[in-house]
């Protein structure tokens, strides 16, 4: 089971950060060529990320590259760097329509052919940053078999909606729409960054909300938030004990040839057993909540 709880942004132009980011052990690391890079450093960041992707330090971690939009002078060059460098995933910002994804995928395929990378080996994720993107979320999420995830980007979205970040009410519809699109497409869903890195209480409150909604994880801008996030996503000891009892009961029923499963007098059906198996897998991968 591939966990994608934490996707850590790293500014693509910063050699120091790129040399140390792997030590923080996020589930995925996202080299940013877009907003975190000034116009005059776009070329430097692109080349630095191209080489960092190939460094053995990043051999055992999932790598994502956020490129500039393809309608900017930087997008296609960024894509060359990401695909040729070996990024596992390309994150497309400001995705408004399914055609945006299809255009990205066509360019990726062209580059894969040219550079000899296995065609289809570069996955893509779309960042939704506007009302149009939210409304088109299902079409975007299902636009290509290469799609592995869909992310909501809060800042641009609330600007487009003519509002501002608050208690989460302003994001409620977008979060639900993006999440449903992800589940329709059977791909992962990622929540917005939490901008105040000194507010652990607010961060954990938001994490609790998005975990209960069903998001796989969150984009992060500070490594300090990784451990907090992973712990909040870990199942409790009680959850794991219950899941083990559910799975044991299901296994026994299968051995006994029984179609109906019961635990402590309560009926258990297949979705509950599947959920229990996910809880156990999650605990095996990330431990139990402290």
């Amino acid at each position: 089971m591939k966990l994608r709880r934490s996707m850590l942004f790293m500014p693509g132009a910063n050699a120091g950060m790129l040399s140390t980011a792997f030590v923080f052990k996020p589930d995925s690391i996202m080299f940013d060529l877009e907003d975190a890079v000034t116009l005059r450093e776009k070329d430097a960041a692109r080349i630095l990320v191209f080489h960092a992707l190939q460094h053995p330090l990043y051999r055992d971690i999932e790598t994502v590259v956020r490129i500039n939009p393809l309608d900017t002078p930087f997008g296609l060059d960024d894509l060359q760097a990401a695909v040729r460098g070996g990024a596992h995933i390309v994150r497309l910002p400001k995705t408004d329509t399914a055609d945006d994804v299809r255009q990205l995928v066509a360019e990726i395929e062209r580059i894969e052919h040219t550079c000899g990378r296995a065609v289809g080996s570069t996955q893509v994720m779309a960042a939704i940053e506007s009302a149009s993107g939210v409304v088109n979320a299902v079409a975007i999420a299902t636009a290509s078999p290469r799609m592995m995830g869909i992310a909501l980007a809060g800042f641009d979205y609330v600007m487009d909606m003519q509002t501002e970040r608050g208690d989460g009410t302003e994001l409620f519809y977008a979060r639900c729409a993006v999440l449903h699109a992800a589940r329709v497409a059977k791909i992962d869903a990622f929540d917005v960054v939490y901008p105040d890195v000194n507010d652990d209480v607010g961060f954990l409150k938001e994490v609790d909300l998005i975990r209960r909604l069903g998001f796989n994880g969150k984009s992060l801008i500070n490594p300090r938030q990784i451990e907090l996030l992973h712990n909040a996503y870990a199942p409790t000891e009680e959850d794991v004990d219950h899941a083990r009892r559910v799975v044991a009961a299901a296994d026994k029923a299968a051995r006994d040839g029984l179609g109906v499963i019961a635990l402590n007098g309560k009926m258990i059906d297949a979705p509950i057993v599947n959920h229990a198996r996910r809880v156990i897998a999650s605990a095996q991968a990330s431990g139990v909540r402290r």
């Binding site: 050699a15 120091g16 070329d43 430097a44 080349i47 630095l48 191209f50 080489h51 460094h55």
Partner: protein, 97 residues
């Protein structure tokens, strides 16, 4: 690749390097390296720089490098960026990168 103007890439922050490239004397490629880790890694740094310049077919110019303990990948990237800028930012031939 021909160096036609002065250019700089990188920073003096830890784990980075600053690369300055300028047109030099005809038929001369002068490389000056200062590094905090020159004793341990000087030969390796020089080798990465030589290889990178060779791949870009840089045969003339004046290259000054101030290294702050950068990884090989950062050295390669900063040298390439500085050379491309000094050559007037031609389209990148990714096969040579």
């Amino acid at each position: 690749m021909k160096i036609i103007k002065e250019a700089v890439a990188g920073t003096l922050e830890s784990s980075d390097l600053l690369v300055k490239v300028a047109p030099g004397l005809p038929n001369r490629l002068d490389i000056h390296i200062r590094s905090e880790v020159i004793r341990q890694f000087g030969a390796r740094i020089r080798s990465v720089i030589d290889e990178t310049l060779g791949q870009l077919d840089v045969t003339e110019g004046d290259i000054t490098i101030e290294d702050k303990g950068a990884l090989d990948c950062a050295i390669r990237a900063r040298v390439q960026t500085a050379v491309l800028r000094a050559a007037g930012n031609p389209p990148i031939d990714w096969e040579t990168m």
